[in-house]
């Protein structure tokens, strides 16, 4: 996926919103900037399908050699799909964070949180300003 077509949270997750059978579904991952900052990823804790997530609430954890970081959902809704092969292949996050490195898909219960997300240009600006 082209990062310029994605929405980003301040906390470095990305979301791609699509219509699926009348529902809106967000594919969610973490940004290349986040992967680079974390370095040396060794572990990822993922939710199960069916779990409810809330915008800005933790949906899982990613662990590098030096630290554990929470991953926060950019949207409200229900987890409908989980990239279960990812924890055993975390290097995909280095090569394709916006494609094969997707983490979960969430069926949106509302669209309230979307207005708080940034486009790619605004997100890059946030990263550059550190």
């Amino acid at each position: 996926m082209n990062p310029e077509e994605l929405l980003f949270a301040e906390t470095h997750e990305w979301a791609h919103i699509e219509e699926q059978g009348g529902d809106k579904v967000a594919t969610i991952g973490i940004s290349a900037n986040a992967v680079e900052a974390l370095t040396d990823l060794v572990y990822m804790e993922l939710p199960a399908a069916g779990v409810a997530v809330t915008a800005s609430g933790s949906f899982g954890e990613v662990e590098s050699v030096k630290a554990t970081s929470e991953m926060y959902s950019p949207v409200d809704g229900e987890v409908v799909e989980v990239n279960t092969s990812l924890p055993d292949n975390l290097e995909i996050l280095n090569t394709d964070p916006y494609g094969e490195g997707w983490i979960i898909k969430v069926k949106l219960s509302n669209e309230d949180s979307l207005a708080k997300l940034m486009d790619y240009v605004a997100y890059q600006k946030q990263c550059e300003e550190g």
Partner: protein
């Protein structure tokens, strides 16, 4: 870069895992100038220091370096230190000590308070000198090409004063990574030239700079304790499984009687190694359980890049300290199976 005990320190230069592997496979170079370097002058320095160290340092022959703990009256560990008895360039013996950065002021005060009328003077040269650890299977060879003394000619835990790149420096066969290698101490003004020269050689054989984070994963694999984690003033040397660093016979030193008492107390938690299932690391203060009863606490943990597994050091109830004992570690609210493992986790070939 992060602040560590007032020093701006490189935690990692690039990838911690790369910096770890380069040390195991080739050369990792560590700027460890933050470590405290204390020099002594006067008479009978070894006998004086011997009253403050858990290990015998009196009468140790010139050229040797001793790892020891220092304890307070209650037996609490003040620091773990290296006591050097080395020749200077003209062959005259001198004593120095390397202490942890976070404990330097405390140890300087502690030693100063006990100098009394010994006539011994302590000179803290931490700020005017630099210290570089060159570690890994190719480390000694790289330094040998630049040094008047070949590190391989120095037995393990010995040292001397020599010239490296033409500059006066202390060279010792010591380190904190579980690899062979050496450490260099020199005046600040020579440090950049020596670092650059060793670095060029290191790079040509697949080595390079490694940061504090890699130093931590390396020392953990090697089962070496870290002050503030496995060692503290609330831990008695008898709990640490560092028997080689505690010598009681025919000696008197501060904390000795408390160590004797602690040795008889079979309920005190003791230091052990743990291997966890999966890749997730336990971190400091994770609780350890056996059948839902708390039996210990993790003091350090990491994903171990060489072993490719999750390892920890911990203090546990001695009843659950036997090799292979299966325990549960609570990591952020989730139970992870673990078992008591042999320390060191890794030994270099």
């Amino acid at each position: 870069m992060v602040d560590f005990a007032g020093w701006s320190m490189p935690v990692q230069y690039s990838s911690i895992i790369d910096e770890h592997h380069r040390t195991r496979n080739s050369i990792g170079m560590f700027d460890v100038s933050h470590m405290g370097r204390l020099y002594f002058s006067g008479e009978a320095i070894d006998k004086f220091l011997d009253t403050l160290t858990t290990r015998r340092v009196a009468g140790v022959e010139c050229g040797k370096i001793r790892y020891s703990l220092m304890t307070n009256d209650q037996g609490g560990i003040l620091d773990d230190v290296l006591v050097y008895h080395l020749p200077n360039l003209s062959g005259t013996p001198f004593h120095m000590m390397v202490v942890n950065a976070s404990n330097r002021e405390k140890i300087v005060d502690w030693i100063t308070a006990h100098l009394g009328d010994s006539g011994i003077e302590l000179d803290d040269r931490t700020n005017s000198t630099a210290m570089i650890a060159v570690q890994g299977p190719k480390a000694n060879h790289a330094v040998a090409a630049l040094s008047e003394t070949d590190p391989d000619s120095l037995p393990y835990y010995t040292g001397t004063t020599t010239k490296i790149c033409g500059f006066e420096a202390i060279l010792s066969r010591t380190g904190y990574t579980g690899e062979d290698g050496c450490e260099i101490i020199c005046e600040n003004e020579y440090a950049e030239a020596i670092w650059s020269a060793v670095f060029d050689t290191a790079q040509s054989v697949g080595g390079g700079a490694s940061g504090l984070a890699a130093r931590d994963t390396l020392r953990l694999e090697a089962g070496m304790p870290l002050y503030g984690h496995e060692l503290s003033e609330s831990i008695n040397p008898a709990q640490t499984d560092l028997k080689f660093a505690i010598q009681m016979k025919d000696r008197q030193f501060i904390g000795r009687s408390s160590i004797l008492t602690a040795r008889k107390n079979k309920s005190l938690p003791i230091r052990v190694g743990l291997e966890l299932e999966g890749r997730r690391a336990a971190r400091e203060e994770c609780q350890i359980f056996k059948d839902d009863v708390k039996v210990g606490v993790v003091t350090s943990g990491t994903y171990a890049p060489t072993l490719e597994k999750s390892i920890s050091m911990a203090y546990v109830d001695p009843a659950f300290s036997e090799l292979g004992t299966e325990l549960i570690v609570d990591i952020r609210g989730k139970s992870h199976p673990a078992r008591i493992a042999k320390v060191p986790f890794y030994k270099h070939p």
